[in-house]
Amino acid sequence: MPENEFEKKLKKMMDDFHLPPSTSVWENVSRRLHEKRRRKIPFFFLLAAGLITAGYFTYHVSEKYKQNSTAAISYTGKNADKAGNYLLKDSAKLSTQKPGIKKEEKASVSNTLPGTQQKIFKNELNNKLITVKNSTALKDNSSELENDNAGNNKQHLNGQIINENNNAIVSNNETLFKNSITIKQPVTPADAENTLLKDEVQDNNLALKKDSISGLANQPGNSLKKSTTKTPVTINKTSNWQWGVTGLYAKSNLIENLTNLNIPSAQYSNDPLTSGNYDTAFKTTHAFSPSAAYAFGTVVKKKIFKNGYLSSGLNFIHLSVKADIGKTVDSVIVIPSPAYTYFVRGYAQPGFVKTNTSKYNFIELPVLFQQNFFHSKKTSLSYNAGFSVRQLISSSSLIYNQINNIYFSKEELLRKTQFQVAAGLSFEMNTGKNNSFFIGPQFTYSLSNLIKNPGNSSFHFINYGLQAGFLLHKK
């Protein structure tokens, strides 16, 4: 506290001391206040829009998918009303209730198809298709099954002998009926009535798909039809979900734009002591050069149709770019621009003195569409494309001003919310029953200019690298 008169007088004078600032202060304050509000809106707007779009798309497609999977199968023969559509749970039941099948064959089917599910259709010729679904080891057993059924191919129906061959063992629909084998067996309508257990239809929850039914109908010798008087069987369709972790190692750089791939150039002197001095010979180089980038996060994939996925997640992404700079000049420079003029204290000119690495940390929300274009039993190859929204959470960076040919630091000039387009390839390999590993190149280009102020050059992030991840699957 002031001890005496001197302090008292001085305090009073200084308390009353008023000095009007220049008008530019309010302009800057006002601009920054509005900028701050605007900056928050796009990120949350884009985040919400992305989530809503993804949600709607997922819901819409899965609803459509559900409708498609409500299969209506019937036959149009005389006994249509009696037959209906039924499913049999396992081969044991099937064999015991089918007098036409010998004991040995029953045993064979039972042995070769433990715990299998069988699906029976009737067509207008009173044939019945029994779809045997084995979710575990049917592939291995398929040849054996074919042999087992080879002797069971001659059955009488309405005085006709229908010879059924192994071609009736049908595997339809790679995704839902990947491991299913359909055995076409001729039985009499009476047999069918005895053997078909309607109650087990619900128990089995066997997913039928429109495609698979059409596939069966297209088989030679099968005249399976979708009845005009449908007796629908609604199948509980559970969607395929995959989730896991992902990581990316890449190179990132700042370029002027994607169309001409020009990187803003910087001029530097050959002599470090006179760095930035235009009297000496100077070279032109890129203002920034690529540096390491990495990302890690979570990924969620939802199957939206055959071989098509929608994926999203949340990632932490670190980008960096390098710049060769000369001596740091501890002085003030005025940078005029159409938006507003600002001062920079302490800047560096391009040179050889040191390499500065600008670092940027973002939180990223990607929304990607992915489609398999090659698919085998254990592997698949797919492409992906989509967009992502990034929010800058921290940075330590240099901005390059081409007019003054200087690098300086002014974090408030960085655009915090960035909008990207992304594309890539992915090779996926099943590493277990319910999990897979994927790896592939990924490319991202930022549509947003990193620098807000148009007085500086235009800078857009690109990053290209290898992405890998581990996914858990669930139906």
Binding site: M1, P2, E3, N4, E5, F6, E7, K9, L10, K11, M13, M14, D15, D16, F17, H18, L19, P20, P21, S22, S24, V25, W26, N28, V29, S30, R32, L33, K36, R37, D330, V332, F343, R345, G346
Partner: protein, 186 residues
Amino acid sequence: MDYKNLVRNCLKGNAEAQKYLYNHFAASMFGVCYRYTKSVTDAEDVLQEGFIKVFNNLHRYRHEGELQAWMRRIMVNTALTYLKQNKHYSSELSYEEINLHPVSSENPVITLQAKELADLIRQLPTGCQTIFNLHAVEGYTHVEIGEMLGIHEGTSRSQYARARSIMVGWIEKRNENIKQRRYAGK
């Protein structure tokens, strides 16, 4: 003046209210910023940052004390942050303890205008200038200054003593010059 209503409108994002608040306090706040810095540009930078903080933290103002005093504290804190963050200040900022000598008991008559006095304060070494402002003008105790700047209380005292001594010397010298000019005029 009804500051409650003004603050409420500012919180709603009313640009007119924000401008009014700024215009009402800008000159007095700029006076504060001016004393802590060495140039008008720096003072304006501090003022700008300070007002951004004021508007962003206006919801924290509880209408318990004077709005001006609350804003003034923000300006002082912004100025201290600015001094630490800027190289050309941070290199000059030194709070080394110097030999403690008794605070000058001299109480020279201040014949200067407020602006001239502020300019004299700005000519003090940066460390002394900050402590002189905080103690003599803002009224913080040396204990509080020690906590604010992360220095020992004794350091604050010695720096203040040095700053006061310099200031008194300058003011007395100036008073003498004025006297001499008067005699010379007669």
